[in-house]
Symmetry: C2
Subunit: 230 residues, 2 copies
């Protein structure tokens, strides 16, 4: 650190990133939690996270944490909010920059260094959490639901190719309400963000096979934000 001018009164603080990782599994919205292997809050469940290393950006730190817990890199990741109450960490002054990530259900969960255990927990049955992580998680959930209505972030919860019914189910799980099939399809198709493939979902039990779609990345997402699912 080249801090020739660093003001003497400017104390440095601990800075961590915490990543709320959402995924749809077993027809439920789940979040990846770890059981803390070290104090403070040893044995308690927590959102995965860790301290920012000096040479890396905040986004890089979040990506690193995400990689350590899931092995994934190419997922939706967005900065959420920075939490900085003075007593939020009993070790001293630590602020945390919270992120949220969306991964599809083929992502594994592996325990990182300071975790004894990692598990996907349903957001509707969360254990007691360390630090202010309950607040962070709540905030992330609100933001996810909000974004789902206005943007096309929903695709990031699904694998590359998916059927319209799978997409609708994803929306229904996250929003916690049933949607009308015909209106849903009209809307999503009219929005022009899906490309239809020539392939179909095969070998999925009974019924007529469904066409597979892909999300068009190029789709302009920031036109003049119109609500996608009112």
């Amino acid at each position: 650190m080249s801090d020739g001018y660093f003001p003497p009164g400017a104390e440095r603080l601990g800075v961590s990133v915490d990543v709320v990782i959402f995924s749809l599994r077993e027809a439920d919205l789940k979040v990846l939690l770890i059981r803390r292997a070290a104090p403070p809050f040893k044995g308690k469940w927590a959102i995965p996270g860790g301290f920012v290393h000096p040479p890396e950006s905040l986004d890089d730190a979040a990506l690193r944490e995400l990689g350590e817990e899931t092995g994934l890199r190419d997922v939706y990741l967005e900065q959420l909010y920075t939490f900085g109450a003075p007593k939020r960490d009993p070790r001293g002054r630590v602020i945390t920059v919270a992120y949220f990530a969306l991964v599809s259900d083929d992502a594994p969960a592996r325990a990182g260094d300071d975790a004894a255990e990692a598990a996907w927990c349903s957001v509707s049955a969360l254990p007691e959490l360390a630090f202010d992580h309950a607040e962070i998680l709540n905030y992330a959930l609100r933001r996810l639901r909000y974004k789902l209505e206005y943007t096309s972030v929903g695709f990031d919860l699904l694998p590359n190719e998916f059927t319209l019914t799978e997409l609708q189910t994803a929306y229904e799980i996250v929003l916690g309400e049933k949607l009308d099939k015909r209106n849903f399809r009209r809307r999503i198709l009219d929005a022009g963000v899906l490309a239809e493939t020539s392939r179909q979902r095969e070998g999925e039990g009974q019924g007529r096979p469904a066409r597979l779609y892909r999300y068009k990345k190029n789709a302009v997402t920031e036109i003049k934000a119109r609500r996608l699912f009112p």
Copy 2:
């Protein structure tokens, strides 16, 4: 700091807050800038901000900075985003939590400690800025415009009592487009967030005097976010 467990690898970083303070003045959207009195970027214009003191929360630090520059406390203040590129501050590793504030045009601007000068600058004619402050300001402006369309944040740019034309003009300045008078009035009145006072704007030159309104604070702002001004 009671850091019995503080991990040795966890280096601490400089943490600052920067507050983008918007105000409507001279029929233009302005932002409060200070001219830096000390290195780095001495003599360059910058967004007001400073280091977070260990015992204060981030919000408190932002309020403190706001108070130092404007003497105000009771204004709209919202956390924006945290910027943390490794080289954003030449002194070393400093991340900054950016806030944005809205003040009405009776707010003064006074130079704080580390400012040689403070001035309200039109967002359409900004000088070159220190650090990554141009990026921060851009981000704040996008967020302000966005919020104005969806929420009732616009009232915070006006004094306590205002006429509908003043409110409409505020929206037009920030959004940078003309709005239809009848549709504007219908929308804002139907939204039920205004209380009409029995008073009128007096002594304002010519024409019929306009009724004064107040913003109803209690108004539920988070119903099911419907766009206020499409």
